[in-house]
């Protein structure tokens, strides 16, 4: 089974791109499954079901969705193998901009939209920086010039990535994207494979439920901001 990880900021068009991608790969119905990792809630399952795509959804709740991803991804692979999928695609919403769900040797796609501001690519961390392919959506609403500037800014942080413009509504561009997926390799398990990037050390008192504000309530891994005289 081939495994593809798709990640990107909320509402960037991940689900739209995945559905178009599956459509144009032309694999038999039901042979490509999706696992969605989200935080609190998601309505993606309805859209996948509507497109006849087998779907599982998991909610990370109070922990970082990428930590949740790592702890569950091998089980997801086992689920996909059991159902005999040819391909399993994971969708995760990148939220903290500091983690990414990419695994060494597993084909990874970052979905980001053109509307998010010229400098956004330079602010997103490993989510963008370590992806094999960056799919840029919503190019239908902005000018060609902005698309080109946006692609340039993506190359600034991920010089080796392929940047592909995909229209999540019409599917334009998803064909070339699907061609890249042929490079994805077959796997049976992820055991002992490695994440491309460490997930952040998130063990401060607030991680464990503290709500009170003030120095005396802050413990563990804290990073204090430095305020300079102006």
């Amino acid at each position: 089974m081939k495994l593809i990880t798709v990640a990107g900021p909320p509402s960037s068009g991940k689900t739209s791109v995945i559905i178009k991608l599956i459509e144009c790969m032309g694999l038999p119905k039901g042979s490509v499954g999706v696992v969605k990792f989200d935080c609190l809630n998601s309505f993606d399952n309805l859209r996948y079901k509507e497109a006849d795509i087998p779907i599982q959804t998991g909610f990370s709740g109070k922990i970082c969705p990428d930590h949740y991803f790592v702890s569950n991804i091998d089980d997801a692979v086992q689920w996909g193998m059991k159902l005999g999928f040819q391909m399993l695609i994971t969708e995760s919403a990148g939220l903290c901009n500091r983690c990414s769900p990419y695994i060494n040797g597993i084909f990874s796609i970052c979905v980001i939209d053109n509307l998010s501001g010229a400098n956004t690519p330079r602010k997103i961390g490993p989510l963008l920086k370590l992806a094999d392919v960056v799919a840029v959506t919503k190019g239908d609403i902005v000018s060609q010039a902005e698309r080109e500037v946006f692609a340039f800014n993506i190359k600034q942080v991920n010089a080796s990535a392929k940047v592909i413009f995909v229209n999540g509504i019409t599917g334009q561009g998803s064909f070339i994207l699907s061609k890249y997926l042929q490079q994805a390799r077959d796997i049976q398990t992820l055991r002992d494979m490695k994440l491309r990037f460490t997930t952040p050390a998130a063990v401060c008192s607030y991680c464990t439920g503290e709500t009170r504000i003030g120095e005396s309530h802050q413990m563990g891994m804290m990073k204090k901001m430095e305020f300079k005289e102006l």
Partner: protein
């Protein structure tokens, strides 16, 4: 340049000199929050003084920074020869929606304008998609697209990196919070053009020529009117986009001089496809492609008779434009106005 040379930039050159010679390197530093490292040192020396913690946040160590520096400089050094030197494009027919063969082989050269007409849902956008992905019989239509007379393999298709085709359509907007001149500068920078200043200026003048109402370099792009935006997009596509093919999807009532716009693009030696229902645009092309049921059924040369009627259509169009302007100015419309 080979990678060794880029390493030399990081070891032999002070950051000061590096930035003078390669201004884009300042982006590299900014991306890693390294803007304030000592500039009199070389990058590799300066990195010795940088807090490892910051680098770690970006998933890098000193060596990693140097490696990504080389990668960065390599990506943003203009290639000696353009990958996209395109002189002709050939469309070889596939099948229509009823799986009947589409008997056509059409070669289009740089500077040619092709209009595409056909009913809604007939497959105009599909054809444009085939061109964009340089279809090799592997899309639903089975069409093949040749570049300079040759088929491309997958690797070559990937190398195009989405730069083959620039698109322009009615519902495109500007969304960035920049002034016109900031925006043009930024686009020029992303093109790595050496003569950025002249290009930006030309582009600005030309956009103002196409637009009905004039705008200033310090106008915010998001505040441009529909017509002004379209004019700026067209001028920008003509002078700054390096894509050799331009797809124009319905720009009928953009409030700009449409014929002038199309001519401008074709003068820049681009291949232009215009999907349109507008007689003025359709007849301004060199050839007209008719699409029905998913297949190209005809390619017409625009005949002399048609070219003659173009004049009459232009007059009609001017009359309509006059009416629009009068409405805008709060004047009244009379029947006399129709007998221009």
């Amino acid at each position: 340049m080979i990678r060794q040379d880029f390493i030399a930039l990081a070891t032999d050159l002070s950051i000061e000199d590096l930035l003078l010679e390669y201004p884009i390197a300042s982006d590299f530093l900014a991306n890693l929050r390294l803007n304030s490292i000592p500039k009199q040192l070389s990058l590799s020396q300066a990195l010795e003084e940088v807090d490892e913690g910051i680098l770690q946040e970006f998933g890098l160590d000193k060596f990693g920074v140097l490696r990504s520096f080389c990668e960065f400089m390599e990506t943003f050094t203009p290639a000696e020869v353009s990958l996209h030197a395109l002189s002709s494009l050939t469309i070889i027919g596939g099948f229509n929606k009823s799986r009947e063969p589409e008997n056509i082989s059409l070669t289009i050269s740089c500077g040619e304008i092709i209009s595409i007409v056909g009913p809604t849902g007939s497959g105009k956008s599909r054809l444009l998609n085939d061109i964009e992905c340089v279809a090799q019989g592997d899309t639903p239509t089975g069409r093949r697209i040749l570049i300079n007379g040759a088929e491309l393999d997958d690797l070559q298709r990937f190398e195009m990196d989405g730069k083959l085709v620039a698109q322009l359509s009615q519902n495109m907007n500007f969304v960035m919070d920049l002034t016109v001149s900031e925006f043009l500068d930024m686009h020029a920078k992303s093109r790595l053009t050496t003569s950025a200043k002249q290009v930006v200026e030309k582009c600005f003048l030309c956009a103002n020529e196409l637009a009905g109402e004039k705008f200033m370099p310090d106008t915010k792009i998001t505040q441009l009117s529909g017509g002004q935006s379209r004019a700026l997009m067209i001028a920008d596509t003509a002078y700054m986009s390096n894509s050799p093919i331009v797809l124009i999807d319905e720009i009928e009532n953009a409030g700009i001089d449409r014929r002038q716009a199309i001519e401008l693009l074709s003068k820049r030696e681009k291949i232009i496809f215009v999907s349109t229902h507008d007689p003025l645009l359709a007849l301004s092309a060199d050839k007209r492609m008719v699409i029905k049921n998913g297949g190209i059924i005809k390619v017409l040369d625009i005949s002399d008779t048609e070219k003659q009627s173009l004049k009459a259509i232009e007059e009609l169009d001017n009359t309509l434009q006059k009416l629009r302007n009068r409405l805008r100015d709060g004047a009244q419309i009379t029947v006399d106005l129709l007998k221009s």
